[in-house]
Each structure stands twice: as structure tokens, then as C-alpha cells.
Symmetry: D2
Subunit: 388 residues, 4 copies
């Protein structure tokens, strides 16, 4: 018997659009899904660009009006990969139109908007997912599982840094990610959001209070002639504009499991390209991870015999590990894009089985609440609690 | 104007069949090809298995007779991913039938057979490729380019080890890779073949003489009930059979550029999962690589300023690097499978432009000649020259 | 002509006493000093213990009264390696007695006391040193030099963690380092003090404000029967006492060069044995260091040619590097103890040439002011400025 | 009761002389010895140089005639740190004069001479040691112990490389280490000798056959004006002379425990400063070591639980590990020089207890036999057995 088809509409075709498209193309080849994903329609504002993208990325159709597409009867799942400021609007409209929704992070650019999306999601009972794809890296899923299983005992510390250097050069222009009205925030929303999700996921705990600092180091940058906002092909028009987001945001945090934590996100760390590095310390062991070496995980356990205690560098590619059964032999590594493929597998499992996907809008809301509490603490210069 | 379609027939659907299929599916999404690959037909001996595989891997059709398929007028390219002993036969037949051929390594299980394939290829003038996919890892392509550009000066040393541990457990049964009549050799043909190709490719030099040792450490293993020969799902029938290939082969070598070298391949190195690690030392610098961290390359240059001399750990994922333009931002890593995607890009470039693909059957022949010279030296206990 | 002799009195013979004694024994054999150090007298409270220690560590004499020793005419330099609460008292008395002073960190257990010591030092004009020995690790001295020379441009970030796990086991008893009245603080004064000094030294900048969190995770520990307070040979008496210092202290900071920073010290990080790891990011490059691999330093420079940009792993043991001329050939590594030997070389250079040693009591005072501002911020839950 | 004094005469005061002197000065401060070493007399050819060295290195006396010194009644132990060609002569003379002998490697520059020294040593029954100091690195001692205890099961492979780059520059002059008549051989005797000893020590097995290649890449170098032969302060006189030793020697080997092995020593590997790296693979695990990070050891064990299998990076500085009890807390690392201090501890234990020191002249002889068999195989181009 043929599997039920799930028709997907993807809105947005830049970096995330490309990563999601790839995942839709690939997921059925590596995972045994209860339903069959169909790449129905790709949506973008520019007719000729979205047409070319749809062809290149493997979509059956293209369209320019997301408002129309989400109303189509033949669409089951709406995937939102647009710039941040439109996430809440599209999410809510799509849910109200009865579609399952997968929304790129952040859920919204304010807690109020995120809360509204969450409320809609809750009422509809549809699958509502937020794209924290790094949860789907096998190494991170493995870490979360170990903590859940008590292998590390009570967790005392989490420390995370997400360091990049792609805007180090002051001639990098004012792309949308540097514009607060569109992006919401800078390295904080872009990078700390990942760390916040990882901390919540791996520890299974919630933030109770935070205090942070933020800084815009390079205060003016060339205006973009082209308003596409792509991550590459920067072209400057000569005029300068104000950078309205943070280059760096660091913060301290406490969690409801008693753990203390430090976080830092910056895009001005020369040589750190995608250095999402975190470590947790528990009563009985530690786990460390670096996204630049995402197929490895380092684990230390106090119950190793004396003389053998040391961090184990584990190839997180054994086929008994999360998500790895259908790929390649051990240490024949997977890449960044596979975190999205794994995510889509979970998504279609959820849709097929009528279950909820994790992380969901509640996770998106809680993440946003932490981001906003940090922002607030930067202003108030005091500790703040995440509120929603 | 639509691109010319190139219809592909793939013979074999185990590990390599899966990797090649994935590459055919993906190559057009990441590279701008002069032709359009069409996944026409997948060929295998078992009707029901090949049918399921074709469906899962994305092939339009399936078939059980490679002899018939290579004669079809609508097939342009034959890709051979069967066990080693059939490579020569199928290659030659496909070339004679006027098809371009991509052959999994080794080209044959003897130099004589490899020479015959090479001779046929030379006469036909068709594209004839041998699958040394690691040449297509960006880091390795980069290394070869640096040597060609003279950045390291004259090369003095190459040292390569390819270590795995997947047959460490004596209960691993007699899969085809452990049967000399099918596989030709063990770790030598499987793993040293990669190192031999890398040494030739990166240095742009040829072996002049070799001497080796070989050992079958675990001499008997359980016979397989199931003759599929898959890499996983080992099931033992209770009876034991003789392992007829080497567990380890090491050798010394000299090259026509004056370099000396050491090589070692073993599948009995606990903890080494896919440890294809090599290093070259030249007059002016060194380069080191480890396949388990295939997105990195380590480079040392003597013309770095005093006090700054040290191995540079370079993320080999910058989009100006070989093959990387169409993938992801720097340090958003690619995986093992992408070496095949890159290879297919080169292949369709060659087919589209009427050029030869590299590495070709000459490379396959020379590789086989080195492998066989080592084998001969193991018997003769003397230095031997690669002959073909 | 014989060199002038400098007679040393060392007070304290535990861990630091041993490290300092070793340095006095060795410094003249590796460095060409303008004066000759003489290991005159070792001082401790317990007659029989100090006698044995003096013999073992190479001191000519032993004594039990530091008050008497600092008054001796034949003593030129007083080195203070006692528990923290006595540092200020002995420093001031020794300076007033006209002796040069080298004081183990911290300068005092309060800013007020540290200020008093600093004031006395300033009045006397004698050499007054504070033992931040890690400044004397060649790799760290090299880093500071590079920053001073502008190789990294303006510094934007410092991030430091000092992680250990030696009190992870709750059965580790209440040694003096866990008693606030003697130690002043826990991981904060013990470990963050090192990071604070390194940040000031490497960046050549001062802290302007800080905010921190602190936690005593393991609140009760066995009382020590033996009050020696040694780091090893823990013996429990059965009764429990309160831990009065922090297990972890983390804080955010801003500097007068515009840099932002994060700091974390904990002694509850399983597997981290002496993980004093820090990184700085500047306009033009980054430097990273890990004390567990103290003979290496990692440097990234944006002016490396395209394709060669990556962290250089540099053996910080070349003999043109700071302190390395008199030791061993490159990569014949030095150890922890050599940081003290290097420090003593600087100290006797200063004494011999009538110059000031660095770091001096001003550095000790500023360090203490940062530590105390962090403590205050933990109480006030607000940003605080270091005051003295 | 005072300990018995052991008066030492050290012959030679270059690099090894300095390392040995340091060890004599330090050993009593870190180890509890059954006897008391006394640094009696330092011997060298040049009166003024040996006088200065004796003073600097801490010797009571100096002398210029080793022949006279070894006859002195007040000398108990003769330590030989001269260039290689004099080792056999002095060793035999000292033993015949009734002195314990510690001889720098190699025991001689031919097997015949080494055999003669061994025979003398055997007859006299005195302590006769050969300085393979790396056996005394805690990590290596630990590895040997694990193999002895069966933790790795039967050993299948050893692979060792010892790579340096100090003579990469063709302007490095003809120091004694590049002169066959004095040094015996080049990288082979200097570096492979260490690997050979490590293989024998760690595996507890003997070489049965070898085959090698050797090459002198840089065939002429500037003659030294100054004949001191020091490792630093190269000064060229303008004239060129022939390099008579190998720059690189690689070889394959088989052992009497069934293991196969590869070895490579070169001093032309840019960026490798002291890269003595080896790995062993056994039935049940692997151990890897790199001298540039000599305080760490990497261990993989197949009996780790599924999901936790990976190389453990172990700080080989725990105070329950070999030699570490008397040094510093864990991860407060030791350096190159401590391998000599540890060696002297073993030596004085042996002398004090009337036992034999290990490695002894038999180890030196066997080492020399392997070196020579490799040399012979380079000439004969055939496998050779170590003979003595």
C-alpha cells in the first residue's frame, strides 16, 4: 500500500531554504518514513528567482504569494525559512489555515509574538516545529540521552560559546542579519539561540535567571545596493548605515536543576568559523562538543577505572547511535546538512504518527523568553527572569 | 535550451551502490553541470532486492542482467559497483558496447586484467574513470594543488596509514571482502589502494620500487549462511572457513621524484575507524590529513615568520576551495558522501566537454601494478618494481 | 669577580614552598643571573617538619619564627608561601624590615589589606613581587608580546576558564583552601585570580566593571583530623563541617580597552585537571592557550594568505622565545615547575639591577580589587567596579 | 644514619651532559633514594670549557683525562655522555676499573663493539645501564605496564615515527652527528634507536627480521670552523663537506610475538620538532603516544561499553602513575628533563639495592643489532635478522 503523501510548501529559498530543500530530497532515502514527503511548492517574492530556485532545489512548483499558498487544499505542511520578522505572521496564518508548520528559528522577534504563535499552535493541535537542527546532530542527541539516563548524575555547569568571524571585516555590508527590525538581534538571536536550545535540550532543564552584556563593536557598515540579503555576494553601494544589532552578547545563567552557566556569542572571533562549542559538567562526568567536529563527542566518566580516566573521543557515527542507522559505516562522516535530514525524519514521523514534533513552539517560545530576558538585563544591568 | 541527458546504469547496490546513487541524485543540486544525469537503471542479481533498492535509491528502472543493460541504446554511462572480481569483465564489455565507464576500484584483481581494461579504454577513447573518491575531498584536492604550485618545494617523504578495526572481532564472518578469489586482496587492495592513489595524486609522482610484508592474523572465520556479502548484518552458520586475504600489509616505497615512503593498511587497529592518515614532507613545508576529520587540513610552511611557524589547522570548507562553491558556509561541514558527489561533478564535466576524467583507467592500472608489486615482494622478500 | 649573594628566606613549605624551593635550586643553572641566590633559611611552624623539608628541599637552615627571620641582617629576600590569610601581615613586616619580598598570590584576603601592603611597598621602594607564575610560561609571555606589538590589533574579547576537579569527590575534607577565613575565597581566589592576571597581562588593559555568580555546590565536607592543610593525604575524622568558599565563580567583565570578557573558575569539572584555557580575539587575529598543553600556543592571523588561514599550533619552546634560551632544544618540553624558575630569573634580574619586578604589589592589589568586585556583585546582583 | 654516598664522574658536557647533570642535581629532591648521589667530577677535553661547565652544572671538580678519572678510588659511577664513537672504549675501561657505568645511547657504533662492552659488563656484574630515557617517561612506563598486564591482549602492530626538522636548512653545518665516523649513523642511530627501544620495552618482544631504506637527501653541508660539535651556534667556514650519515631511514619489522611493525626516522620533516609518535594495536585495545605531548597518553579499549568506545586522552601525571608520586599535582606537567631524573632514580635504586638497572647493556646490544640489521638490509636489499 502506498504511503500517504505529505505535500510541503517551503517559504524562502536563501541559505535555510537550500538546507531544508536538500533535507526533503534526501530524507526518504536514508530513513523509513511512515508518510511520503512531496516537494510541492517553493515560495519567494521574486518570480524569476524563485522559479530558478525551485528548479534547482527540486520543487514541483513555485509561487510568489505565501498568503495564497497556505490556503491551498493540497498543502499539508508549511515550512517557513524567511527572514525573522515574518516568522510569527506566517506561522499563525498557516496554522489557522490548518497546516502543520515547521518554522525556522526564531519563532518570532519578540516574546509577545512568539507567545501568540504558541497560543495558536496549542489551539489547533497541529504539528508545530521550531528548527533547532543541532538537536538532531547524533552527537548532541547522544549527549542528551546520556544525561536523561543519569550517566552524568546531577548537572552542575553548562558553558557554551558560539564563535564565528564572518563579519570581522568592516567592509561586510548591512545584510538583513545586521538589521534589528528584520533580524530581531545579531549574534544573540542567531547564535546564542542555538546554545540556549542545546542547554535546555541536553540538560532537560529551564533557565531561571540571566544577566548579560552586549556590544556593537563595528557600528557602521556599507549599505547594500542589492536588497536580497544573501549571505554571500556582498556588494557595497558606498554609503554607510548603522548596525543595529549586537556583534557580541555574553551572559551568565542559572537553571532550575541548580546548574550555573556561561554563554557567549560573537561574530568577531578571528579563526572561529562555526565554533559552537559547549561542555557540561555533572556529578559523575562531563561531555564536550564542537560543531566544527560534529561527528565526534568527548565524554569523561568518573567511574572509569583509575589510570584510565580521560576524555573519550568518540566517533558519533556508529550505526546504533541516534539517526545513524541508515547512513554510512562508522567514521564515514556526515555533514552539516544531515542535521536537517535527521530533523525532517523526526518531523515526518510525528506527522505520520499524529504525535508532536520536538522541539515545538513551546521550545521556541521559551528560547525567545531567554533571549529577551538577556536583552532586558543588558538594559537594566540586573538579573532578569525569562517571562512569557 | 535543455541540457543533454546522460542516462546512467549502475551495476551493484551494496555500500558503493548506495554511495554512487546518492551522488547521482545530489550532484545536479550543488554543481552546475553541462549535461543532465538521469538515473536510468539499477542492476543486481536478485530481482526482489534490486527492485527495492532501485525504489529506495531513486532509479527509474531495475534489471538483473548487466549484459543486457550495457547493450541498451539509451544507456550512456555504465557505473560498476560490483564485487572486485567482475570489474574487468564488465568494464571491457561496457566500453566495447560504446558506453562511458566509471569503475569502482580496483580496476581488476590482477595487473593483466587491469591492463586489458586499460587497453580497451585507450582504443575506444570513451570516458573511463576509476573511483578514487578521496581525490575529490576538498582538502586532498587542495593539497595536490599546493604541491603542483611548488608551495612545498621538492617532496622528500610520504607516509600513509589506513587503519580500521571492523574485522577485529574474530566472529566477523567470511564476507566477500575476506575471500581472495572475489576481493583480490584484503586490507591491501581495500585500503592501501587509496593511499597509493593519494600518494600518486598529491605528489604527481610514480612509484619506482616497493617492498612489503603481509599477514593474515585471524586465519579462520565463521562461514556466512547468507551469501549477500553485505558489510552489516553478519550472521554466522557455525562452520569455519579460511581467510584468504591479508589483515595487514605494510610496505616501503621509492618514487621517481626521489621521495621515500612508508605505507600501512590494517583492519585490526582497535579504535581506528576510518583512519586514513597521511603526511608529506617537502623542502619548504608539510601537509597532514586524517579522513576522520576530512574537513580539516594541516599545513606547515617554512616561510612563515619566525615565532609563527606551526601547523595551520585549516577548515577546508571555504567556498573558494576545490568543490566547495556550491555547498554551505565555511565550517558547515560536508561528509563522506560528498566525495562521491564531487567525483560525479567531475565526471559529468568530462562527459559534457568531451574530456577525460581523472583518475582514469591508466591510474587504475598503475595502482594495480603497485599493489601487485607489493604482493610479489611479500613472496620474493625482495624489492620489486611495479610492472604493467 | 664573584657575584653578590642574595640570601633568601622562604616561609612555608607545602605545595608552593616546594615549587619555589625547586626554582631557587635551578634558576642559576639555566639563567645567567647578575646575583647569586642563596637558599638560606626555610621557615615553618612545626620544628620537625620544617627541618625535614629544609633538608629535602635544599635549604641551609630552618627556623620556626618568621618574625625573627625577617629581622635577620643576613636575609635579603623574603618569599611568602604560607596560607593566604597571613600574606599581608608577613609582607608588610618584611618590607618594613628592609627586605625584598616575593609574595604568593593573593596579596591579601581583602582589598583593604592588599592596599596596605601596596602602600608599604611603595614607601620602601624595595622589590615587591606577586607570584603570578603563569606570566612566566613562555607561551603566555609570547602572547603578551604579540598583543603589545599590535599583531592582533585592538582586542575585542577575552574568554577564560580555569577548570579542575580535585574536590569533585564529596569525601574530600575541609582543607584550608575550603575555609574562607584562611583562603579568602575558593575557586575564585585560587583560579580566577590566575585568569584575571593573565587577562590584564596579555591585553595590557584594566577591568572597568564586572558581574558574577558564585555557588557552593557541596556544602558540607568531612573535617580534617590533621590540620596541616596539605593538598594530599586527606584524612577524615568523621565529623562534617561547612564549606565556606565557592565551588564555582563565573563573571562577565568589561575592560578599559573596550574588550568584553567571560570568566569561569570551578573545581567541579570532571576530567578537567588543570584546564586553564583562555582565548583572545582581536581585530587581526586570535590567540588560544591551554595550561594542560603549556608548551603549545595557537595563533590565528587574518593576514595569512587566503587558503592558509587557520590556527597555527606553535611549539612555544624555540630558544628565541621568552625564557627558552637556556633550556633544551625545541619541543623538548619544559614543565609546570619551570614557570617558577623563569619567575625567579626575572626576580633576581630585578634585584641585581635595582629594577622593579613584574608583576608587583600593584598588580596584586588590582587583582584583589577585581576579585572583590566580583564578590560584591554576587551579593548586590549588580555590576560593580573594582575599587582600591 | 647517613646514606652511603655514590660519587659520580660524568664524561661529556654538551646536550646530554647538561641533561644528566640536571638529573643528578634534582633526583634526590623528588625521589627517596637508598644512596646519596654526589656530583664529584665532570670530565671534558677542553680545560677552560669543562671548568666553566662544571661550575655551571653543579660539579665539585673538573678534569680533562677520563682515563685518569675512571681509575680514581673515590669514583663509584661513570656516566658516559661523549660522542658515540668513544662509548665502547670508555664503558669497557670503566667497568674494568670496577665502576658502575651508565652509557648514553648507542652502546657502540658497531655490534661487535657493543658485544664487547656487553661481555665485559656481564663478567664484572656491575650495574651497567644504557640511557634510553624515554622508557622513564611516565606515559611510556604506563603503556609497558598495561601490555605486561595483558590489558591489550596479544599485540599485532607497532608503528613508530620519529620526525624532526633541525637539519632541514642546507646551511646547517657538518656537526658531529652528521659524520659517520663519530656518530655511527644519522637519523637511524639517533632517532630510530629510541623507537627500537620503545618497541622492545612496551611490547616485551624481540625483533626477528627487518628490511629498510635509507637516504642522504642533502649530500653536502658547510664544514664547521669550530669543532665543538654543539647542537646550537652553528658557524660555517665556507667550505663544504660530505654528509656521511642518513637523513632518513625507514624499515619494516617482524617480532617474536607475531607483531608486524613500521618505523621511520627523519630529520627533514618540516614542522615536526620532536615528533616521536608511536602506536600499538593489540587484540583488545590500542595505545598511542606523542613525545611533543609527553604528559598525555591515548588509550582505546574494546571492553569499554558500547557507545563509549573511543580513545581516552589521559593526563599521565596522576601521582599513582610511574615516577609521579614526588612531583606536582595532576596536569601540572613535567618536562623532557624529568625523563632523566626518573632514570637516575631507577639507577640509584639499582645501585643501592645491588640490583641491575634496566635498560642495561644487553638492551643496548640488542638495539645495536637491530640498527645494524637495518643498515645491512639497506645494502643487501633483503630482509635481515639482528645478529650479535
Amino acid at each position: 500500500m502506498a504511503k500517504k503523501q505529505i505535500n510541503v510548501a517551503l517559504i524562502g529559498f536563501q541559505f535555510m531554504g537550500k538546507a531544508h530543500s536538500n533535507a526533503y530530497r534526501q530524507v526518504g532515502h536514508f530513513f523509513d518514513l511512515p508518510v511520503e514527503p512531496v516537494m510541492k511548492v517553493l515560495v519567494g517574492r521574486s518570480e524569476h528567482k524563485v522559479k530558478a530556485a525551485a528548479e534547482n532545489l527540486g520543487w514541483q512548483e513555485h509561487a510568489t504569494s505565501w498568503e495564497e499558498v497556505i490556503q491551498r487544499n493540497d498543502i499539508d505542511l508549511v515550512d517557513i525559512g524567511t527572514p525573522n520578522d515574518s516568522h510569527a505572521l506566517i506561522s499563525q496564518a498557516a496554522l489557522k489555515a490548518g497546516k502543520h508548520v515547521l518554522c525556522e528559528k526564531p519563532l518570532a522577534i519578540s516574546v509577545a509574538d512568539a507567545k501568540a504563535s504558541y497560543d495558536v499552535a496549542k489551539q489547533t493541535g497541529l504539528v508545530n516545529g521550531i528548527c533547532h537542527n543541532y538537536r538532531k546532530a547524533p552527537a548532541i542527541a547522544l549527549a542528551a540521552q546520556m544525561v536523561r539516563d543519569g550517566k552524568l548524575g546531577a548537572i552542575r555547569h553548562f558553558r557554551g560559546t558560539y564563535l564565528q568571524d564572518w563579519i570581522l571585516d568592516p567592509s561586510v555590508p548591512l545584510v538583513w542579519r545586521l538589521d534589528k527590525t528584520i533580524a530581531g538581534s545579531g549574534s544573540h538571536g542567531d547564535l546564542n539561540a542555538h546554545l540556549i536550545d542545546t542547554a535546555r535540550f541536553v540538560m532537560g532543564a529551564e533557565f531561571t535567571e540571566v544577566i548579560g552584556l552586549a556590544e556593537t563593536v563595528i557600528k557602521k557598515r556599507p549599505l547594500l545596493a542589492d536588497t536580497d540579503g544573501g549571505l554571500s555576494g556582498f556588494k557595497s553601494s558606498g554609503e554607510m548605515g548603522d548596525v543595529t544589532v549586537d556583534d557580541v552578547t555574553s551572559f551568565l545563567a542559572r537553571f532550575n536543576n541548580g546548574a550555573t552557566a556561561t554563554f557567549e556569542a560573537t561574530r568577531l572571533a578571528p579563526g572561529r568559523k562555526n565554533y559552537n562549542r559547549w561542555e557540561i559538567n555533572g556529578e559523575k562526568g562531563s561531555i564536550a562538543f564542537n560543531l566544527e567536529r560534529m561527528n565526534e563527542i568527548e565524554i569523561y566518566l568518573t567511574d572509569d577505572p583509575q589510570g584510565l580516566q580521560g576524555f573519550h573521543t568518540i566517533q558519533a557515527t556508529e550505526n546504533f547511535m541516534p539517526y545513524m542507522e541508515g547512513y554510512w559505516p562508522v567514521a564515514h562522516i556526515i555533514g552539516y546538512e544531515h542535521t536537517f535530514i535527521n530533523m525532517m525524519s523526526d518531523l515526518f514521523q510525528a506527522i505520520g504518527k499524529g504525535e508532536q514534533f520536538s522541539p515545538d513552539f513551546e521550545d521556541g517560545l521559551k528560547n525567545q523568553a531567554v533571549l529577551e530576558a538577556v536583552d532586558k538585563s543588558v538594559q537594566s544591568r540586573q538579573w532578569e527572569r525569562p517571562l512569557f
